[in-house]
């Protein structure tokens, strides 16, 4: 088919008047012929200009409203621009950060809940302790030669077979040493260990003695400084003594 014949088909195709066979032949030719492709483009644009021979008519305003209303709903297919990718990355980062923060906040919330539960138990114990201490029999321990300013007070709660002991002014114990409280019972010679404790920087400490002997007299209480963790029988010097 000659270029002239192709041009004639292109003229018909520009106004959609070519047959399917002619259109197929035209497309094949245009793939390789730049000159005919240029002519075909000119004919297409010429055909479009024919539309301007018609009088313009203003469409109802409703059409414009419909078009603009429907625009955002149209599925646009632009390539993902760099700033869209960046924005997506930032949003993803924010989302991940928020998720981590949320997770951390939940863990903190769980820890706080546990702390509240623990404090409630402590408060209950403290209430019981206060109730026990009010009207309880007490024993005062006095500081000995190595710690003349030290003192302690023992609140006995025989009904619960326990005692609360509060120590003050003891010298801070070394890391390899512990203070140990002893009970000297009337029914046995050997002192009975009532617990091991360490003091804080101010020399203060507290101790709850469980299984307090109630079926015998307590002749005295004493505190010695022993190897860390305590011993079966007192070996160290006495820091506090009371009866």
């Amino acid at each position: 088919m000659t270029h002239e014949e192709i041009e004639q088909i292109a003229a018909l195709d520009a106004i959609d008047a070519a047959t399917p066979e002619e259109v197929a032949e035209l497309r094949r030719h245009l793939e390789t012929c730049t000159d005919c492709r240029r002519v075909a483009n000119e004919l297409d644009e010429t055909a479009a200009l024919l539309a301007l021979s018609v009088d313009p008519v203003t469409p109802p305003s409703q059409v414009r409203q419909n078009v603009l209303r429907l625009l955002p709903r149209q599925q646009r297919r632009p390539a993902l621009r760099w700033w869209m990718s960046a924005a997506a990355a930032v949003l993803l980062g924010l989302w991940l950060g928020s998720a981590l923060q949320l997770r951390r906040a939940r863990e903190e919330q769980r820890a706080l809940r546990d702390e509240v539960a623990r404090l409630k138990v402590d408060r209950q114990k403290l209430s019981e302790t206060i109730a026990a201490l009010s009207g309880a029999r007490t024993i005062q321990l006095a500081g000995q030669a190595v710690a003349p300013n030290a003192s302690a007070r023992v609140f006995l709660d025989p009904s619960q077979r326990r005692a609360f002991v509060f120590f003050r002014g003891l010298p801070p114990n070394a890391g390899d040493k512990s203070y140990q409280l002893w009970i000297i019972r009337a029914d046995q010679v050997a002192p009975q260990s009532a617990g091991v404790f360490n003091v804080d920087a101010a020399g203060n400490a507290s101790l709850v003695v469980q299984n307090l002997p109630v079926d015998t007299m307590i002749n005295a209480l004493a505190v010695t400084l022993e190897p860390r963790g305590g011993v079966k029988a007192p070996t160290g010097e006495k820091y506090l003594v009371g009866s």
């Binding site: 004639q8 959609d16 483009n41 059409v63 603009l68 429907l70 955002p72 646009r76 297919r77």
Partner: protein
């Protein structure tokens, strides 16, 4: 005059720019520039106001969606829009089986629409200049050539259908159509981008 016209309405593509930018406000402004021109064409082809409005809406929505497909090297934005609108209208026209009824209604529809014809307000000056040139070129065509061209362009008739309607050989109709397009191409060269 011609260079100004070309720079004003054929070298720019405000509709596609607005669509690519996602700027609905600018898209609306471009709609105002083209809508009356396209609607007049659609009414001339489809001769049904409701269908014409539907196709007009489809065309602009398609332009928003497919703006990236617009290739300025192949023609102006105006030509691209017209081509989309006309193709849709011709497709619908050809899919109809009530052509005779449509033709009966044509005169009534057009006369009803006359009061809406707006040769001034929504018709940019540049388009009026092109319109004047296109009409002059059309008027200069021999009647037989112009008739063949209009039956194909505005009525969507195939060359065989035109030959049958006019009682002329198919070859004659093809020659007339070709000659008409050749002359229009030459006369309107100043108004093309290609």
């Amino acid at each position: 005059m011609v260079p100004a016209i070309r720079s004003a309405c054929l070298t720019k593509h405000p509709l596609c720019d607005a669509a690519l930018a996602g700027n609905t406000f600018a898209f609306g402004a471009a709609y105002d520039q083209y809508a009356s021109l396209l609607y007049g064409l659609l009414l001339r082809i489809i001769r049904d106001a409701e269908d014409a409005q539907e196709i007009l809406q489809e065309t602009f929505l398609a332009a928003w969606t497919d703006a990236r497909k617009f290739d300025p090297s192949r023609g102006s934005e105006l030509a691209w829009l017209i081509s989309m609108a006309r193709s849709r209208a011709i497709d619908r026209l050809r899919s109809r089986e009530r052509r005779s009824k449509r033709e009966e209604e044509a005169a009534r529809q057009i006369s009803m629409l006359r009061p809406n014809v707006d040769p001034g307000g929504n018709d940019p000056v540049a388009f009026r200049e092109i319109r004047s040139a296109v009409r002059s070129a059309m008027q200069e065509l021999p009647d037989a050539q112009r008739s063949a061209l209009e039956l194909a362009y505005f009525d969507g008739l195939s060359q065989s259908e035109i030959a049958s309607r006019l009682g002329e050989p198919l070859g004659t109709i093809k020659t007339r159509t070709n000659l008409a397009m050749k002359k229009m191409r030459e006369r309107l060269a100043a108004f093309r981008r290609t």
